[in-house]
């Protein structure tokens, strides 16, 4: 009986459809077992999400609404930290810069990832597996090592500049190669491409040859086929890989520090400082939540618009 009371609609309807004889108790028993099975299936995942994802978020959200006094957090409710994050000019510039860099890096990496995955799926079928494996390997190669590799590549005495000098093309090193927004975007994209390849690749596997041939058959040229069939079918994967890259880029604080220079700095760097140097947890948390909210809003808009355009 308890099951019907808890979820009257669902259980009764299901029991009713099975409806073999008047054995009401047995039907409810089956419903209860089904609920238990469902609980066992989704329970662990729910607990995992709650413990590892939600709990820290909740703690930091509370911090962002409190105050810090003498390097101690005190539970005084206020919105000062948010007010500051949104109104202070330097924070707003920082946020805007972060969006530009994350936007640039995520578009670059998602675009290249799509081109790569598309080539694998449609042109280099035979080499799909080894190439994909190479991508996964790239994903797990050292992060810092690669930042420094980029510095040696693009620095004043780096390979590019040495080569240009050696060839007599330039006499002075090109200093714009490093320590600016463009460098931050390129280096971030370099990390994000392997991450972005996998979702797009998976999505392109779902585009069947027959669908492409059907589009050709019904009058599409190769460009029309791409826009009307391939891209819409792969859109969830394209979106996911872009969003993943965008979030990862927006949260990064190492690349901007090491190659970003003055106009290539990002909110992540400041958040780290706020936590580690200022011990101002409320402000750091508020900055982090503001960035997250802005990022999610942008992602939501892209999702909506993309879904409308590609259909």
């Amino acid at each position: 009986m308890s099951v019907t009371e808890a979820r009257p609609g669902a259980t009764a309807a299901r029991g009713g459809r099975r409806g073999q004889g008047p054995g009401g108790r047995r039907r409810l028993g089956a419903g209860g077992r089904r609920a238990l099975a469902l609980g066992l299936q989704v329970g662990p995942a729910t607990a995992f999400v709650a413990f590892f994802l939600l709990a820290p978020l909740v703690v930091f959200f509370l911090y962002s609404l409190w105050r810090v006094r003498d390097y101690e957090i005190v539970a005084e409710w206020n919105l000062d930290a948010y007010k500051q994050a949104l109104t202070d000019d330097s924070y707003r510039r920082l946020l805007w810069n972060t969006i530009k860099i994350a936007g640039g890096a995520s578009l670059l990496s998602a675009g290249l990832a799509f081109a790569f995955a598309h080539t694998l799926r449609f042109k280099l079928r035979r080499w799909q597996e080894p190439l994909l494996f190479a991508v996964v390997i790239a994903m797990f190669s050292g992060y810092l090592v690669r930042v420094y590799a980029w510095r040696t590549l693009l620095g004043d005495s780096g390979i590019v500049n040495s080569a240009l000098r050696g060839l007599g093309i330039t006499s002075e090193p090109l200093s714009f190669l490093l320590f600016n927004r463009g460098a931050a975007i390129v280096v971030l994209a370099n990390f994000l491409i392997p991450l972005a390849v996998l979702p797009v690749y998976a999505a392109l596997q779902n585009v069947r040859d027959a669908e492409i041939e059907a589009a050709r058959d019904l009058g599409c040229g190769s460009w029309g086929t791409f826009w009307r069939v391939t891209a819409p079918l792969a859109w969830p994967g394209i979106f996911f890989s872009w969003a993943l890259a965008f979030l990862a880029a927006a949260g990064d604080y190492v690349v901007p520090q090491l190659v970003g220079g003055a106009n290539g700095t990002m909110v992540g760097v400041v958040i780290t400082d706020t936590f580690q140097t200022d011990y101002n947890f409320p402000r750091g948390a508020a900055l982090a939540f503001t960035t997250l909210l802005v990022s999610l809003t942008i992602i939501g808009i892209v999702r909506f618009v993309g879904g409308k355009v590609l259909r």
Binding site: E213, D217, L218, R228
Partner: protein
């Protein structure tokens, strides 16, 4: 039927114009395929196929799995490029044209509906590509849905349809652009038997209603017999015979056709003489009197084909019928098929004939009984032996 002429391509009736040189005139065949060849690596999937399809015909490409039917259809549709030979549609050579520039549409075996679009948008797809005005699109989609007898599902996603419904949507989508020719690659193979029978008749009705040329690929001989104006038989990458369902059934050009279309009793023998207008063939089961036809070798090894329904069984002592042949044998097995009865009669050590009898004819015949398997000279078809140059 010219089975003695070198390579047996399909019989091109009525018009003998060379493909490719035909002007895009009203009289040009819907499809003219001329000596098309295709290999995959070293495997020759099509070894020289020629075929003319008249406008407005329902033609079936019939053959066992792997004989090259799909490959030929894909070459017509433009999805595969032939190694040699030409394809002309409506008198215009299309070898250099991509699929979207050919006035043919395809119903794919897997239907290939666009899963991200509604049924309406799937059917309207070719119209949207052709920039047909929105109002006309709606009108034509509605017409198509009426034609394929499907309604009330316009707003559903293509993934939410049953097999039969998907089939109808795929058909509507392929026809809405009013193609000259519709290509269908085993479109009914995934349906259950009952639905398949219904769709066979539906397809034929739609084809007659529109007058569009249909090229229908199947490996099911019964399906081909049911639906087609003309059946083209393929085997091993070649076209082996073409003709009306009656022709290919009654006058098979070779053993393959005789065996593949319908059932046949095949007896090895040697053509060795004449009795009046009839030829004699000595087989293991005795000397047969046969009516010589175009396929009958003048002398030497041959195979005699007899359809099971042309054999009657007589019990000894019964008044002799008019049939020229009567082979004594023993009924080994009787199989009850409901409307028919099939009897297996051993007429020689190694030879068992299958006879198909009506219930009345079979009345009183029991397993183990001695009978005479009778058939007329005209009921036989003498074919060149397998492997011999046709």
């Amino acid at each position: 039927m010219g089975p003695h002429s070198g390579r047996v391509n399909t019989v091109v009736e009525e018009r003998e114009t060379a493909a490719g040189s035909i002007p895009a005139a009203a009289g040009a065949p819907a499809i003219a395929i001329d000596d098309v060849r295709k290999s995959f690596g070293s495997y020759s999937a099509l070894a020289g196929c020629s075929l003319h399809v008249e406008r407005g015909q329902f033609i079936s490409l019939l053959g066992p799995s792997g004989c090259g039917k799909t490959t030929l259809l894909r070459i017509i549709g433009g999805f595969e490029t032939q190694d040699a030979g030409t394809v002309a549609i409506n008198g215009e050579t299309v070898d250099a044209l991509p699929p979207n520039k050919r006035n043919v549409n395809t119903v794919f075996q897997s239907y290939a509906l666009f899963p991200h679009k509604s049924v309406f948008d799937n059917i309207a797809f070719p119209l949207a590509i052709a920039r047909v005005p929105k109002r006309e699109r709606a009108e034509r989609v509605r017409e198509m849905l009426e034609l394929v007898r499907l309604s009330g599902v316009e707003e559903r996603k293509a993934t939410q349809l049953s097999g039969g419904q998907s089939q109808r949507v795929a058909l509507a989508r392929a026809l809405v652009g009013r193609p000259e020719v519709l290509l269908l690659d085993e479109p009914l193979a995934a349906l259950d038997l009952k639905l398949r029978k219904t769709m066979q008749l539906e397809l034929r009705r739609i084809q007659e209603q529109l007058g569009t040329t249909f090229v229908f690929v199947t490996h099911d001989q019964e399906e081909a017999l049911t639906m087609s104006d003309r059946i083209v038989l393929m085997n091993g990458g070649r076209i082996v015979q073409g003709g009306s369902p009656r022709e290919v059934y009654d006058q098979p050009a070779n053993v393959f056709v005789s065996d593949f279309v319908g059932e046949a009793n095949l007896l090895d023998g040697v053509v060795d003489g004449h009795v009046g207008a009839l030829a004699t063939v000595t087989t293991e089961a005795g000397v047969l009197h046969v009516a010589p036809g175009a396929t009958t070798p003048a002398a030497g090894p041959a195979i005699v084909s007899i359809r099971p329904e042309r054999i009657a069984l007589q019990r000894p002592g019964q008044a002799a019928g008019e049939a020229e042949n009567g082979l004594p044998g023993t009924v080994e097995r009787i199989v009850f098929l409901g409307n028919l009865v099939r009897a297996h009669v051993r007429v020689a050590e190694e030879v068992v004939l299958t006879a198909e009898l009506s219930r009345a004819e079979a009345d009183g015949i029991a397993e183990g009984e001695r009978v005479l398997a009778c058939f007329g000279a005209a009921a036989t078809r003498v074919l060149p032996p397998d492997g011999a140059p046709a």
